[in-house]
Symmetry: D2
Subunit: 463 residues, 4 copies
Amino acid sequence: MDSNGVDEHQMKLVEGAAGYVLEDVPHLSDYIHDLPTYPNPLQSNAAYSVVRQYFVDEDDTVMEKIVVHQDSPRGTHFRRAGPRQKVYFKPADVRACIVTCGGLCPGLNTVIREIVCGLHFMYGVTEVIGVDCGFRGFYSKNTVTLTPKVVSDIHKRGGTILGTSRGGHDTSKIVDNIQDREINQVYIIGGDGTQKGASAIYKEIRRRGLKVAVAGIPKTIDNDIPVIDKSFGFDTAVEEAQRAINAAHVEATSVENGIGLVKLMGRYSGFIAMYATLASRDVDCCLIPESPFYLEGKGGLYEFIAKRLRENGHMVIVIAEGAGQDLVAESIEKQDASGNKLLKDVGLWMSLKIKEHFAKQGKMEITLKYIDPTYMIRAIPANASDNVYSTLLAQSAVHGAMAGYTGFISGLVNGRHTYIPLNRITERQNKVVITDRMWARMLSSTNQPSFMNPPKETTEATN
Amino acid sequence: MDSNGVDEHQMKLVEGAAGYVLEDVPHLSDYIHDLPTYPNPLQSNAAYSVVRQYFVDEDDTVMEKIVVHQDSPRGTHFRRAGPRQKVYFKPADVRACIVTCGGLCPGLNTVIREIVCGLHFMYGVTEVIGVDCGFRGFYSKNTVTLTPKVVSDIHKRGGTILGTSRGGHDTSKIVDNIQDREINQVYIIGGDGTQKGASAIYKEIRRRGLKVAVAGIPKTIDNDIPVIDKSFGFDTAVEEAQRAINAAHVEATSVENGIGLVKLMGRYSGFIAMYATLASRDVDCCLIPESPFYLEGKGGLYEFIAKRLRENGHMVIVIAEGAGQDLVAESIEKQDASGNKLLKDVGLWMSLKIKEHFAKQGKMEITLKYIDPTYMIRAIPANASDNVYSTLLAQSAVHGAMAGYTGFISGLVNGRHTYIPLNRITERQNKVVITDRMWARMLSSTNQPSFMNPPKETTEATN
Amino acid sequence: MDSNGVDEHQMKLVEGAAGYVLEDVPHLSDYIHDLPTYPNPLQSNAAYSVVRQYFVDEDDTVMEKIVVHQDSPRGTHFRRAGPRQKVYFKPADVRACIVTCGGLCPGLNTVIREIVCGLHFMYGVTEVIGVDCGFRGFYSKNTVTLTPKVVSDIHKRGGTILGTSRGGHDTSKIVDNIQDREINQVYIIGGDGTQKGASAIYKEIRRRGLKVAVAGIPKTIDNDIPVIDKSFGFDTAVEEAQRAINAAHVEATSVENGIGLVKLMGRYSGFIAMYATLASRDVDCCLIPESPFYLEGKGGLYEFIAKRLRENGHMVIVIAEGAGQDLVAESIEKQDASGNKLLKDVGLWMSLKIKEHFAKQGKMEITLKYIDPTYMIRAIPANASDNVYSTLLAQSAVHGAMAGYTGFISGLVNGRHTYIPLNRITERQNKVVITDRMWARMLSSTNQPSFMNPPKETTEATN
Amino acid sequence: MDSNGVDEHQMKLVEGAAGYVLEDVPHLSDYIHDLPTYPNPLQSNAAYSVVRQYFVDEDDTVMEKIVVHQDSPRGTHFRRAGPRQKVYFKPADVRACIVTCGGLCPGLNTVIREIVCGLHFMYGVTEVIGVDCGFRGFYSKNTVTLTPKVVSDIHKRGGTILGTSRGGHDTSKIVDNIQDREINQVYIIGGDGTQKGASAIYKEIRRRGLKVAVAGIPKTIDNDIPVIDKSFGFDTAVEEAQRAINAAHVEATSVENGIGLVKLMGRYSGFIAMYATLASRDVDCCLIPESPFYLEGKGGLYEFIAKRLRENGHMVIVIAEGAGQDLVAESIEKQDASGNKLLKDVGLWMSLKIKEHFAKQGKMEITLKYIDPTYMIRAIPANASDNVYSTLLAQSAVHGAMAGYTGFISGLVNGRHTYIPLNRITERQNKVVITDRMWARMLSSTNQPSFMNPPKETTEATN
């Protein structure tokens, strides 16, 4: 329970008839009393006045589970994103800041651009600052002033103009700094680790009773954030991954017993690997973290490789970076040398293992080419679809913060923009592939075995 | 009422509690009695057996209106797409055909490929034929045999390997031909005109009591098909349109008072123009069919152009092909000459009009460059996102036809694959832009006037 | 003869044994006496000191005609480009300006960038100004200051950051302005019209006895500048043209009797059309200004189209913008209406003519798709090869001007960078395709007829 | 001396006045007497008859050294490539074969396509076979029949449809096989090792007195083949390398003290690294095999990295695969473990070394991202410029073989197509970068130190 009588760890749930539940987001008025409101400046904006019902009805909520039976309970809903008739900040008083954390992802610059332009052109907010190089930038670095002119062309560039870093999160120092700089809107773009940080910042702000809205825009190229449909940059990543798969296919088909091995992003989830495989149709085997596999013996990967090479003369394997970590770990701990650092990379490890296996076996001369396009994928600008998507995520976040919501992320649920409580993102497990029927579609498209039942003897051997 | 006691023009509605309505699709068993069923061959497919609950529950339906209030009625639902436990065709008996109609659209070849591969690899169906060059190919042309090998690489190519044409629809002759060839699954890929044809074919087949499933896959690069989230190829089109807008921007900014004018697809709806504008951020004015505009006088387009050029020295205009048709029609009927055929193209017409206006006015020397990328956009292969999307649409259609559904289209509703009655698509008005809040977002991004209130005198002048 | 006893209209020829001729470029010392020289600052540049013989030997010349017989005369040579041991400008005294004229061409920004960076980093010159929007910018517009920082990223953008225009050349006013601004190096980037202007500026400067070096960098996307191997941007243009040809091919092959018609740049010469055709292999007919053709009758274009359609069912035609101008002119003068302005575009004209012919004839229903990618080609950034090439042209120009040469262009001759007298470029006819054996190669690749011998009756009809 | 009185190891030199030397290529008539000749079928080819002087004059030769002084000796010349008035093979008798060896290179498929189409369409030769997977394919594999239809679209695909391999050269078995199959024209596409093989095959064929023409088309993505201007695929490779450099630049600039490290092809020569660096302008340091460097101490690489990071906050390093091999070798021999295999890759090795150095030093926290785009570059299709170039190389080879020349390669010298004796390519050292003034230009563009003078103590340390 905070000083205002609300437990900041508690979800804000509103229940209704027929099993209806709204998982609502916190609002500044939850812990600050008698906040004044102002009419939304968009009311007098020519662009918006031509559209009927532009403002979001306060009662609009978006259903989470939409595959239903005739008598299903209505289930969880989220607050619909968008502009409200009244706002809780006077534009002239707003002082916003933006920070980007974690790895690169196509669309970061678009999100930055559209927060700046959204605040500026929709709400007349002119004070926006950029925090340099991630969370630590709040206290160890200078900030930069962000104006529409500064960000005008950045959506055509990859990376983040603000710089990024991992870690560096010190809640107290960050909130001190927010107070010192008189910032009252904080936009935090980053993955689940970052959003945990955002949640901590929100709670501390609430504990101190500050009128500061905290909005998260979830970012993960791996697409493993729960609840939301997909994360920005994912489409672009899958698109760009096609280049690597095409190259692997050409290399594999231009020699006898050619193997093209492509490592793609995905530490805990194989979405990029799976979608890239589905989009390409040139892949014979896709390995992801969610689906364990084994190398030796009947039904193992080596056997499958040998089979495909005998049948087709070539094959393409896509492996997510987090796949087979158990095998890698076990393989490496047996030896200790500086080159082994490289073997922690599952792609390099597997390319060595496959080569060694076939060399040792001596029956089949293979040629394996390994491609790791990770940084070439992460660093490109967003494609058109991700540009539009990132724009809408950013605009939703701005509408939300202006409307006084806080401790929320801007996220797409069933194609609708919503506000989701930060807790909901950070306290659930990440999204994974395996239970999805998409995985069945993919297995069907590659015709690979499930690698599900290692033979006993093999299991021992590889343990 | 047909001979089986069901009115084939009637929607098949199932109602439930709390306002629940299922707009169901027809099924072969609606008019053929005692059809035998068979276990779905996927039950013994290794790829599918690893996934829990792979088969769709017969009761699964997808909600249409998902932005709800606490007490909203449940509203319309559609049947969820996907494989069923039992099928109504013995794979060895299936003889399927595929036809593509209307203009080109990225993804056509992927849809063809995946119907062929889906039938083949998922259901063991080996007889699939391609109808050559649209509806008329049923009776005036030879067919081609489609195998997984034939279609193996076609998703990397633009266009349609089957060929296409407009019109040529003669229901009787087509159904005669379907009977002659002993075809029992018909896959029809095309726009709303084509789906009207598909609906007529379905009704005639039903009238004749044939055991033939008719499945439509809606195709329109304009994205104006009602009910569904978006049509395949749309993302690719918006992406490719960026090239033209970029070029227009470079041309416009490299001279004094430069205007870049880009015509994009969209006869009745401006989705491509609007999304391409939103994705680009270099566009100063976007004109679409849904939003009328006028040229002369206060608040007109000429005034806005002059204003932007004075402010920025350059501007980019995007116009959908169907925008301003009233102005074009009126302008052309005044004269009659062979060159005027070209003026029916709103892009060429407008480039002449703008040049003439500023030449006549004599105050401002402009340089206008007109770009029409239409065929360069239509003809490219699908991007990764559309490849995956087209794949799933095709697989859903195959699952649906195998399960005995007919007179349906395979469509995405709120991100879920569903079967939608053909009537629902063909009897409603096309989707348009204007009431959407996306249009407000776009107006806000270009800062263009609404062109809503032509001054009286000007109206007369342009009449 | 100018006041210094040298005829400024005269070529500067040096003759040697065995028919050796050097067509030398003018030098400031030709008309200004007792010019001081300075050691080249590159002598103390670490980067250059590691390379043996970095400085060009003053006697180095490049042979023009290198396909020789055992006893051929040695023929024409040009002065080799590159840094000299001594320079005629003290870096601190240099005040350079750059102007771009005429149409856009990939690589313009790279040339600008590298003149600025070459002067700055190689010679320590810090005063470089950009003239705004072509020749008229000398007297009607403000200039911009160009520094390495300003131009740092411009090579990744299409167009020209300086702006460009056609015409606007007033020699006196320009040279007055050069004097007023105390400019002593003038870099002029443009086509043959522009280089004629450069030549006039050089002559007037010489007449006035000014110590001002005038260097031209020839620019024409059409590649029709005489003497030099190819103009910058040409490779990029041919590359980008492939997109349009691919699209035309897809459109043509996706319908019955499909024709894809692509207009490419080339007002007086068909190099882009020819190379794009050779690179693509999907083109059935390539029409260029150098090779007249006729439409009707035996051996005419219509007949060839009908033949190809009967054989293959589809065809792709590439036409250079300057092809068939005689036919267009004759066709248009017969009628007079505002839409006819559009018919001056040979692509639009021809698409109408072909459609009308086949409609009138009524034997064959064709579908023609016309693509004009001109501005999408012109406006893209230079590819890697043109970036390197543009860089070297710019650096050569800088070395030449610093070494006191003037009235020259920087050009590639047989793969070697040279200085060529401006007269040589402006007083000869433009380069054309027809006598080249490349044309035979292309004819052979398309298998099109030569359209050389119109039947008498047809000749009369079309004359 | 062979049985015909000519030493097959001897160059065929023709000398003339003023130091003129023709390094001629062997001809079948050198060792086979009384060969009949036939008129070139091109004489009656409509396409060629429109071009004046289409056939190459027998006396045409191309000068090698074209930067000359007024009185330079005329020097070496090569025979000009192209069609001759008479040919030494009757088209109906020709049985040609094509083999591709070594690593992939953009353009391989274009060369294959154009040999097939050139023989077919220019000379009416219909028997062309493809040897499967390199030299060993002559005796261990089946061949494939190559027709214009088979090769029609292959130029749009990367790789080689024939397959390739390294080594496997057994001269006797190959020539036996050529005799067995009654092949009389052998087209060999490959690098310098392959051309040495071609030379051995030619000599053995000559020793046996067979009427078999051997033509080489030199292939090396590294561009290190002597005499010729550049090898096909090089432009495409440099272009594609930009992607990796751009990504490295984005990664480096998006973090504090970011380093982007890109490995490019070039085992013995740094042409790709150098041109890619020049084209990009985002590279701070380019390391190539020809220019040794050292890591530690004053003037070493570590010092330079630290300096750049302090100045700019980020840097991009491009390293050719053959650079620093001395350092790698020395570093690895000190340890022995399976992971060390990976360290033979200079890119992986250097990324570890740099990370270890800065971690050990502890003054500067760096983030290094390593990108190896090698296979993504090799495997793409040729760009337009390389497509045209590959076409002309192939056509020249065909003209040469038909004209009875043998033991030659088809190569570009000073922009002219020539026939160069195989000996000349295989007996000289490979082309390298360092003495070229292009290297100075590149050093100047990166402003990197020359790494030429390692401090004594450091030298000891790293030895």
